[in-house]
Symmetry: C2
Subunit: 222 residues, 2 copies
């Protein structure tokens, strides 16, 4: 457990909390670290979630399966992100997503009940933590709206240009790497992979973008 302290204390979840406090809090919240492997389900659709899952290392896809069996990638999460945080506040709500591990991952698991209810020895901690949780959830909210913007574009071309332009803005540079392979990007943008590949080629040949594997360059201001 101790070997993860440096990772844990750098997460936004424990922002504003000193090293000594951290140890007390982790005990108080029943914190432990669990390893997941490629394809492991961390959260399953239909489950009730009562823990906070903080990614210390690795990559997690938040997915949903349609009634007709197609996969939707809602978001991709990395170190310092929380998984299914919104589900923890309402005990009676079932998870509406799956969280699937991509490659190896280390997840810190905390008991939300213990985090959210006051106790004598750590009143201030709880207060800081809940503020941090609110901030983290806000960020996720804004990203979900951005995803809605991306997939709400009318054509494959517009979806790609909107997505790439948003990524470019986030990276603050015209050259950047995207976290998806082609199939994942297609699942994220809700389009057919091969049709997307075709449109990417077209955009490249028109000189609007350039790319090699996951490295993209935007040639124009959208």
């Amino acid at each position: 457990m101790e070997k993860y302290y440096s990772k844990i204390k750098n997460s936004p979840l424990f922002c504003g909390i000193t090293d000594e406090e951290l140890e007390k809090m982790l005990k108080c919240f029943g914190g432990y670290v669990k390893k997941y492997e490629d394809g492991d389900m961390i959260i399953r659709q239909g489950e009730t979630i009562s823990k906070i899952y903080l990614i210390l290392d690795g990559e997690v896809n938040v997915e949903k399966e349609t009634y007709w069996g197609r996969r939707i990638i809602i978001q991709k999460l990395y170190a310092n992100n929380n998984i299914g945080l919104a589900l923890v506040a309402s005990k009676n709500i079932e998870a509406n997503i799956n969280a699937m591990c991509v490659g190896h991952a280390l997840i810190l698991i905390l008991n939300y009940e213990k985090c959210s209810t006051m106790c004598q020895n750590a009143c201030m901690h709880h207060s800081i933590l809940i503020r941090n949780l609110f901030k983290i959830l806000s960020k996720e909210n804004i990203e979900l709206i951005e995803k809605i913007e991306n997939i709400s574009q009318k054509t494959i071309r517009d979806k790609l240009l909107t997505y790439l332009s948003n990524e470019s803005q986030k990276h603050r540079t015209n050259i950047f790497e995207i976290p998806f392979n082609r199939q994942e990007l297609a699942d994220y943008l809700n389009i057919d992979r091969s049709a997307m590949s075709f449109e990417l080629s077209k955009l490249k040949s028109e000189g609007l973008i350039d790319y090699k594997k996951n490295k993209f360059a935007l040639k124009v201001e959208i």
Copy 2:
């Protein structure tokens, strides 16, 4: 101001707070009520948001305009909902949405800075409020994921069936009213209105659904 107290105290934002406390809090948070008319913009894309907007009465559309001029309705909000709550936690982030008033609306406006920082006389209030904010944002988050599910369906038919089936589940009945007119529903589901009308007719003639104006009935379990 006093005449709105009953509405305010019934909102989830002030859940768990007594009448006497409420008055103190509203003063402490610099709360006031503002009236908006049809078409008024409550939040504009690009603004920095530092206030909490609680809808006391009326209807608000959270919208986004695409680069190409088409409207996307992200969500529709009513009494007891907060507008742009996620934007308030990160001071440096510009609003990525417009919030537009539909018809008349009454909005309670609070100063978030005063809500989120401690003061001597109301420490406990702040603590309750931030918990409530977390809960509210969680709910909104879950709804955004539901919207992503709706618009991620492949065909107009699947989008309609998924949306209607989700609405039916939320209302816990097969007969329910939807909050959108046809154009708004099309903007919400990201499809063409006339194509949607056509598909609705088809679903009705096939006996899968029935509807009259905004009242819908689902005839099958999806």
